[in-house]
């Protein structure tokens, strides 16, 4: 066994020592001949004769060399080596073809590997959490069965204690907003994001801190001294990975917080749960009577017990929820919906990603068809070379192998370029923090992606090498060598295969164009929706008053000072304050029209915003009826509210809502009089209706977790950032600088997943279109070349060049029409799978299909036009003579 191993090693080594080994053998054989000859001389043979005899006895030296090589090395590798050398030589002779093929394969492989990395990270790989397949996401289904709500603390505690399906249930506060926490004190003032988590949050996810510990039960009491676990990123960035941070106090939102631990770098809450954001501080969420009274606040994650399935857990939670509802009628409704955490995180993107993966696969097929086409064109001119090699004794098998080696070498060279592009592509995608896509920042080229590249390279090489390779056996040596004209046998079949390839390219391009068209039109429709506010030329800045302004009166003074100072700045046309920005977070309560019966769980859901006067102007939300808030609405005047049109319609159908009383903020309180009606604002998503919205004046409200200043300006908003900061400095010296956001950015972030898909798909189909055009061009110009004799005869017989040009254009358009027909039908069938991604267009959207047909026809006509020009350059005499 050992000897077999030694032998293999030696044989592999011998492949690379061919010249040395050959020389050694030559010496050896030479010595052999001389020794043998001398023996003959000793026996009395004359010297010259002796040497001749010796050489005869030794046998054919050339064959011996061959046999020796076969035994000492790996003949397979040897031929491969030969084939490769030959391949590189032929590729070098056609630098244009080689460069073009490598380029398009490179772009194709680059695109597919990048897409593979994205798909692999988002769909195939488990989440970057321990044993993530057992993690389950739970939400509370809204009363109308449409939205995902959070869950009340009391329900969570009972579910956690009573369920049998989970080893543990953990929760986090679902209403944290990016920039919630302001760090002051030592160093620069900075807004970071803080998240309240249940005590068992880290243990349940099996996230162990790199430094320190997670929370103790004592730290999770109501009003316990502040503690926090810091994210690895913040620790490294702001505190230079100082291990003495443990036990230190930092000032967060004006109060002291002790750092008890640092989360590991592998745990990035944002990439999984809040794409596009980072959580920098984790603080304990007290699960007490007090937090229970906050209403629905918790997002829940559980780890399935071994043996439990999501189905069994669903059944159990359904029973538990019914039971809890009966037991605690005072609590909010509970309709638990369980789904694998993975589905929650990436489920919505699955369809879009699959579409992209298919699209990139189609692009790869077009690349194959294109290179196959070029290969065929080359193999036509190389038929003679092949015939000569067959005549000289090359086996056809060996020739096929040679052809495949050539194409695989080509595809591997392309793949090399592709790998470089994919590295750049994945790096670029991962750095796109503007895209609100989970896990995108963790996308990178890994071993799996590289393996994928290799597989793609070989498969592509085989695919596009197949057509030319299959032609080898049909080479007829005699005819090919005898035939002196360029139009050799097999040309007909050749053209047929090549036309089929071009038609398939057009079909693929059709499918991609239709897909890209439908999604782009959906994207435009989404951008076109009436948001209800005007994001252009408006910006928001976080201006929480902080602990220094404790009383309501102080806070009101603060706000009016802020507004006055900002409004007096040149270039500010309106300003207002709100506690919730559209598309950036939400909060909803049950609302009710006064005088109508109260039914728990059947009241409409109302989205509440606390705003200052001037807010509607600053946002550009048009007032439809009644009035907006004014300085006259104070703590002491009648409680008032402004509602949106949907709320007015829902609460008082067919009645004037202005002047009515709406009940909302806590059932015990007196209602608020509706004084005005404004337009609906799309605040959840651009694709989603607004639902009922209610605005309360800030002067009649105690405290909010966040306050945003919204300004409207005719200037580009960023130009104002510094002057606003300067104007506010006297009253808000600790205003952080990293939170000036234009409203357009909010909208852009909200549509970013859609933009991501559309951009990629548009890129793919553009590439496909170029390839299809090149394919058409190549085939038509080849056929013009092949037919030059025929065209020459026709010219000699009196056909005008324009007639011939027309016939060539007709040939082009016939191909294109066939492709578009098949492509149109195929896309019509495949468009169904896009249904869930479309917005405002149907799968048979006529403008998309018409646009696709026109684009393709135009591109095909253009691609056929240039080769047809060559007709006028054909000299009939020369063409006839050449034959």
């Amino acid at each position: 066994m050992l000897s077999a191993f030694h032998r293999i090693i030696a044989r592999i080594r011998a492949v690379f020592q061919r010249a040395d080994s050959d020389r050694d053998l030559e010496f050896e054989l030479e010595a052999h001949v001389h020794l043998l000859a001398e023996d003959h001389i000793l026996r009395g043979t004359p010297r010259g004769e002796a040497e001749r005899l010796a050489r005869i006895e030794l046998g054919g030296v050339y064959q011996l060399h061959e046999a020796h090589r076969e035994i000492r090395a790996l003949p397979f590798l040897d031929t491969l080596h030969q084939d490769l050398r030959y391949t590189f030589r032929t590729l070098k002779q056609n630098p244009g073809f080689t460069a073009f093929a490598i380029l398009i394969i490179g772009v194709g492989v680059g695109a597919s590997s990048t897409m593979f990395s994205v798909t692999n990270t988002l769909l195939l790989q488990p989440l970057p959490l321990h044993d993530s397949r057992r993690l389950v996401w739970m939400y509370n289904l809204s009363d109308d069965g449409v939205s995902e709500w959070s869950t009340q603390v009391g329900h969570f505690l009972d579910l956690r204690e009573q369920n049998q399906s989970f080893t543990d249930l953990a929760a986090y506060f679902a209403f944290s907003q990016p920039g919630d926490a302001k760090i002051t004190g030592e160093g620069e003032t900075e807004r970071v994001s803080s998240l309240m988590v249940s005590q068992n949050f880290f243990p349940m996810l099996d996230v162990r801190p790199v430094l320190g510990r997670t929370f103790t039960a004592d730290e999770c009491h109501w009003n316990a001294p502040g503690t926090a676990v810091m994210s690895y990123g913040l620790w490294k960035r702001r505190y230079a990975s100082d291990i003495h941070i443990l036990g230190q106090e930092i000032i967060v939102n004006g109060s002291a917080v002790t750092i008890v631990g640092v989360a590991p770098s592998s745990f990035d809450f944002g990439t999984v749960f809040a794409p596009g954001n980072h959580v920098d501080l984790f603080q304990p969420m007290p699960l007490t009577q007090e937090t229970n009274s906050w209403g629905n606040t918790l997002a829940i994650i559980g780890r399935l017990r071994p043996g439990a399935t999501i189905q069994s857990a669903r059944a159990e939670f359904w029973i538990l929820a019914n039971h809890l509802q009966k037991q605690h009628p005072e609590r909010n409704t509970l309709r638990p919906v369980l789904m694998p955490l993975e589905e929650h995180v990436t489920g919505r993107l699955r369809r879009a990603l699959l579409v992209l993966a298919w699209a990139v696969g189609i692009v790869m097929l077009i690349v194959c068809a294109n290179v196959a086409n070029l290969q065929l064109a080359r193999s036509a001119t190389r038929q003679k070379e092949m015939a000569i090699r067959v005549a000289l004794g090359a086996g056809r098998r060996r020739l096929i192998r040679q052809m495949l080696t050539e194409s695989i070498t080509l595809s591997c060279c392309g793949a090399l370029l592709g790998v470089i592009l994919a590295f750049a592509g994945t790096r670029m995608l991962a750095s796109l923090s503007a895209f609100k896509i989970p896990l995108l920042s963790t996308v990178r080229m890994d071993a799996a992606s590289l393996g994928f590249c290799l597989v793609i390279a070989i498969v592509t090489g085989l695919l596009f090498g197949l057509a030319p390779a299959l032609q080898v056996p049909s080479i007829s040596v005699h005819d090919t060598l005898k035939d002196s004209s360029r139009a050799s046998t097999g040309t007909k079949r050749h053209i047929w295969i090549r036309s089929a390839l071009v038609v398939s390219e057009i079909v693929f391009a059709c499918v991609l164009l239709v897909g890209a068209g439908l999604l782009s039109r959906s994207f435009l429709n989404v951008l076109d929706v009436n948001l209800g506010f005007q994001p252009e030329r408006a910006a928001a800045l976080r201006i929480d008053p902080g602990a220094r302004y404790a009383s309501r009166a102080q806070r009101m003074t603060y706000f009016s000072q802020v507004l006055n100072r900002v409004r007096s700045l040149p270039g500010v046309s309106a300003a207002g304050v709100t506690d919730v920005l559209p598309l950036a977070g939400d909060r909803s309560w049950d609302i009710q029209a006064k005088g109508k019966p109260f039914v728990l769980g059947h009241d409409p859901e109302g989205f509440i915003r606390i705003i200052s006067e001037g807010y509607f102007q600053a946002m550009g939300i048009p007032l439809q009826a009644g009035r907006a808030f004014s300085a006259a609405d104070t703590q002491f005047s009648e409680p008032v509210a402004v509602i949106n049109e949907t709320a007015a319609r829902t609460l008082w159908p067919a009645q004037n809502a202005v002047g009515q009383i709406v009940l909302s903020d806590g059932m015990g309180r007196p209602g608020r009089r509706v004084v005005g009606i404004v337009s609906d604002v799309r605040h959840r998503a651009l694709e989603q209706n607004s639902g009922c919205e209610l605005y309360f004046p800030i002067s009649q409200w105690d405290e909010s977790s966040a306050e945003y200043l919204v300004i409207r300006t005719p200037l580009p908003p960023p130009a104002l950032a510094s002057s606003i900061r300067a104007a506010l400095h006297p009253i808000a010296p600790e205003l952080s600088t990293n939170e000036f956001k234009t409203l357009q950015e909010l909208v852009d972030t909200a549509v970013s997943p859609r933009r991501f898909v559309v951009l990629l798909l548009a890129g793919f189909s553009g590439f496909a279109l170029i390839l299809a055009a090149l394919g058409i061009y190549a085939v038509i110009s080849y056929s013009v070349n092949q037919r030059s004799a025929e065209l020459g005869i026709r010219m000699a017989l009196g056909a005008s060049p324009s007639e011939l040009r027309a016939s060539i254009m007709l040939q082009t358009l016939r191909l294109a029409a066939l492709g578009m027909l098949i492509g149109g039908i195929t896309s019509w069938i495949l468009a169904r799978s896009l249904n869930s991604l479309l917005f405002g267009v149907t799968i048979t959207d006529p403008p998309t299909f018409a646009g696709m047909l026109i684009t393709l026809a135009a591109v095909a006509a253009l691609a056929g036009y240039f080769p047809s020009l060559r007709v006028s350059r054909i000299d009939p005499i020369a063409a006839l003579r050449a034959n």
Binding site: L2, S3, A4, H6, R7, A10, R11, A14, D24, L25, F27, E28, L29, E30, A31, H32, H34, L35, L36, E38, D39, E57, L58, G59, G60, V61, L64, A67, H68, I71, R72
Partner: protein
């Protein structure tokens, strides 16, 4: 070179080369070929070139070692000698060969049931 036919011959040739080197000490390729011819007294037709195919295989299996040296007629030649592993192999092969040969001999002497 049809392989199925040379299969037995190959093993046999290996054995002969090993035994020759074991008995004679270091030898060059020609020497080995001569020796085998002499012993077999022309009964075995060994193509002289074939010996080199056998030698390279044995070297690769590390059963024999090769060293450059000077032949008796003052020429550069490669000398082969048996290695430890080769000696072991030779012993095992010899035993194996004798058992097979013995079995075949008995089979050939057997004249059927009486």
């Amino acid at each position: 070179m049809p392989e199925n036919k040379s299969e037995i011959l190959q093993g046999t040739l290996d054995l002969m080369v090993l035994q020759t080197l074991q008995a004679m000490g270091p030898l060059h390729g020609y020497g080995i070929a001569r020796r085998i011819e002499q012993i077999s007294k022309e009964a075995l037709q060994v193509n002289q070139g074939t010996i080199y195919l056998c030698l390279v295989r044995l070297v690769q299996k590390k059963w024999i070692k090769a060293e450059w040296g000077i032949s008796e007629n003052n020429r550069k030649a490669r000398f082969y000698s048996i290695s430890k592993a080769g000696q072991k192999q030779l012993a095992a092969e010899t035993e194996n060969w004798q058992r097979v040969a013995g079995t075949i001999a008995r089979l050939l002497q057997w004249e059927g049931p009486k």
